[in-house]
């Protein structure tokens, strides 16, 4: 379990960094980048190939980020004068181009065979107790800062709602969510029993499951309507419950993380990576928030809204778009280095276009233009990925390949439901949707 949570945290952190890059490009600047994975590929390969030559990791990572930024510069120079959809087409083309280069240039990348073995960083070290305690303290501090940010956000959301209404509604929302969870859990258990005992043919069980799921969803949609009629602050209540669940899960996961940091030598490379990657996420979040609130970030947002206005007000739109593309690319390059470290092998197949779209899912889930949203989106995405991988196998009568497709369908469904009820994303601002252009 410990190793499992550690790797979950690493994946979340890697993709949080990756989506933070995309969020800078799309959420802030409005650049539709469908080839974000290209930057990650460059970052991963550069880092690994350089470490194989004996370059220290941090330097190799920086080189990877720099090369990714350079790719951003190239893409930008050739395409940023185009309109948005063309940028999307070109970027997805570039990402495939980079992947195909990785497949074919075997002298450099070893082709489809991939780079199987490279020195894993931090694998050899065995920190003494005081060092480990300091690491735990830093890690705990970062987590605490995260909670503080979440708390501030929640306060901001709820300041208009009277306290008494909040308590009532939260209790009702808690009941709603708990009963839904119990119902889903119960039907899952029943399905599991049925699948084990082979009492029903798989097709019947499958259809039965779908019908059951649809019925539960219909019931709870109806219930939600009733509830929001009865409780005016229903959305706030749900927000509180949701944040509470996230907070509890967060504490639960961090407790494992802290334990494994304390037993650093149990799996040195992974534990070290977890520590480093969480620090990178925190640092990037801080830096990006600061940028977003600076005049520099204001220009990016202005370009997203209407680049002609930015131009008329004396801003060099092309140059700022280029900066956004390059910086987002460099960030994705760093995530590539982390990704290679986590996977311990690098294949061209790791960098299929689906990786880009996963990042899009995360950014949209969390709320475009919200850095915290990108991180939360990544956590939800990976939580979903890992949980469903183990649970659905026991319940759904499908073989492995189909199950994989089914999980993608489910996340698509989840995204659709979210787009209907909360089109601004989880942490997005609702008011922004009601504005005319």
């Amino acid at each position: 379990m410990q190793g499992f949570i550690v790797s979950l945290i690493i994946f979340t952190a890697v993709f949080a960094v990756f989506s933070l890059g995309l969020n800078l490009q799309w959420g802030y600047t409005g650049l539709i980048n469908f080839g974000h994975v290209a930057f990650m590929t460059i970052g991963a390969y550069t880092t690994v190939l350089l470490t194989l030559q004996g370059v220290p990791l941090w330097l190799a990572t920086l080189a990877g980020a720099a090369l990714a930024a350079l790719l951003g510069l190239l893409i930008g120079f050739s395409t940023l004068r185009l309109r948005t959809d063309y940028l999307a087409i070109v970027t997805i083309g570039v990402s495939e181009l980079i992947r195909l280069i990785a497949v074919n240039e075997e002298w450099l990348t070893r082709g489809t065979f991939g780079i199987q073995r490279f020195p894993l960083p931090l694998a050899g070290i065995n920190p003494s107790l005081p060092v480990r305690v300091v690491m735990v303290a830093i890690f705990g501090g970062v987590i605490a800062l995260g909670y503080w940010q979440g708390w501030k956000w929640l306060r901001q959301q709820l300041k208009a709602v009277p306290q008494s209404a909040l308590v009532n509604t939260s209790i009702a929302a808690l009941g709603y969510v708990t009963s839904l969870a119990l119902l889903l859990y119960g039907s899952g258990m029943i399905a599991r029993q049925l699948k084990f005992s082979n009492a029903l043919p798989p097709a019947v069980l499958g259809i039965g499951l779908l019908v059951g799921l649809a019925a539960i969803i219909a019931l709870y949609v109806w219930l939600a309507k009733k509830m929001s009629d009865r409780f005016p602050a229903w959305a706030s209540g749900l927000t509180i419950v949701f944040m509470a669940i996230v907070a509890v899960l967060g504490i639960w996961a961090s407790s494992y993380a802290i334990r494994s940091l304390y037993d650093y030598s149990s799996n040195p490379s992974k534990n070290g990576l977890m520590f480093v990657s969480v620090l990178i996420v925190a640092l990037l979040y801080w830096a990006l928030e600061r940028l977003a609130q600076s005049p520099w970030g204001r220009i990016l947002k202005a370009i997203r809204e209407d680049e002609e206005v930015a131009r008329a007000l004396g801003k060099n739109v092309f140059w700022y778009k280029l900066q956004s593309l390059m910086l987002g690319g460099a960030i994705a390059g760093i995530s590539g280095a982390m990704y290679a470290w986590q996977l311990t092998t690098v294949y061209p197949d790791n960098f299929q276009p689906i990786v880009t779209f996963n990042a899009w899912t995360m950014v949209v889930l969390g709320g475009a233009g919200s850095n915290a949203g990108a991180i939360l989106g990544s956590a939800i995405f990976w939580g979903y990925q890992t949980v469903t991988r183990f649970i659905l196998e026991d319940i759904v009568p499908l073989d492995d390949a189909r199950l994989g497709a089914f999980r993608v369908m489910l996340i698509g469904l989840l995204l659709m439901v979210l787009m209907i009820w909360r089109p601004q994303g989880i942490l997005g601002k609702k008011e922004e949707l009601t504005l005319g252009r």
């Binding site: 005049p295 947002k301 202005a302 209407d306 131009r311 007000l313 004396g314 900066q323 008011e431 009601t434």
Partner: protein
């Protein structure tokens, strides 16, 4: 309130003859396919004036604006602003030189607050440079405070103070027009190109907008105004240029232009 405009105006008068135009364009042409939208057009705007640009629909007024601000590159012709040629400069450089434009349909940055819309317009901000965000945060914050104060003053003078923290996208049509003009003032330009400031605005607000333009003009700001509202042109402008089918038709004081038979013909037909 905003006294640096008058300073700037007096500097200009000392520096060169008061009658040298601030903006002078000559021989401007632009074709779209076979249509000559602007055909050998000229225009001059004297410093400190409110100059009008009128003409029937499709006369090429907005295209001429786009050529002046280089949002569209002219096929031919030259534009001299404040003593230097600007027809080769990219649009943002032209704004940085002190010539700022507004749009016919008010364009606000919806998902930014009204205040952010204003702050964006300030020129030469330290914090606009990526590295300065990290290396000179103090100076950046100080400037930001000053700009915020200045923006509040302008917003107060156009009566938008109460909306400063709202999203610009939540403004009404008339308020958007006001914000757009206020934002242009925030650039601290030498001259503003106003494209139909009164289009789609109720009569009371039109009068208000006129008052603001007049007030800022008295502070030393130069305006070039496209407008269909003849009352506004007649009451506001010192000088009017008439454009028809992309060519100069007439120019002179409002009263002269109003009586010019060629102008009447262009507007009303024979």
């Amino acid at each position: 309130m905003v006294d640096n405009f008058s300073e700037r105006a007096s500097e200009q008068e000392i520096g060169r003859s008061a009658f040298a135009p601030l903006l002078a364009a000559s021989g401007l042409s632009k074709s779209f396919g076979g249509i000559r939208a602007v055909d050998n057009a000229s225009i001059e705007v004297l410093p400190g004036s409110i100059t009008g640009l009128i003409g029937p629909n499709g006369a090429g007024k907005t295209t001429l604006f786009n050529l002046l601000s280089n949002f569209i590159r002219p096929d031919q012709g030259e534009v001299v602003f404040d003593g230097s040629q600007i027809q080769q400069l990219p649009p943002h450089k032209i704004t940085q030189q002190g010539l700022v434009r507004t749009f016919q349909v008010a364009r606000v940055l919806s998902r930014l607050s009204v205040m952010e819309n204003m702050l964006l317009a300030a020129q030469q901000q330290t914090g606009e440079n990526f590295w300065n965000v990290w290396l000179r945060p103090g100076q950046s914050a100080r400037e930001e405070r000053q700009q915020r104060e200045y923006a509040s003053e302008i917003l107060a003078s156009v009566g938008l103070s109460h909306m400063a923290q709202s999203y610009a996208g939540s403004l009404s049509g008339g308020q958007r027009k006001l914000l757009e003009i206020a934002r242009a003032m925030m650039v601290r330009p030498k001259m503003i190109l106003l494209d139909e400031p009164a289009a789609g605005v109720n009569p009371t607000l039109i009068n208000q907008i006129c008052d603001y333009i007049r007030y800022w003009n008295q502070q030393g700001m130069t305006f070039l105004v496209i407008e269909h509202n003849m009352d506004l042109i007649m009451s506001l402008c010192d000088r009017v240029w008439v454009l028809a089918e992309g060519r100069n038709l007439a120019e002179g004081t409002p009263a002269m232009v109003q009586r010019d038979p060629k102008v009447l013909e262009a507007y009303l037909g024979q």
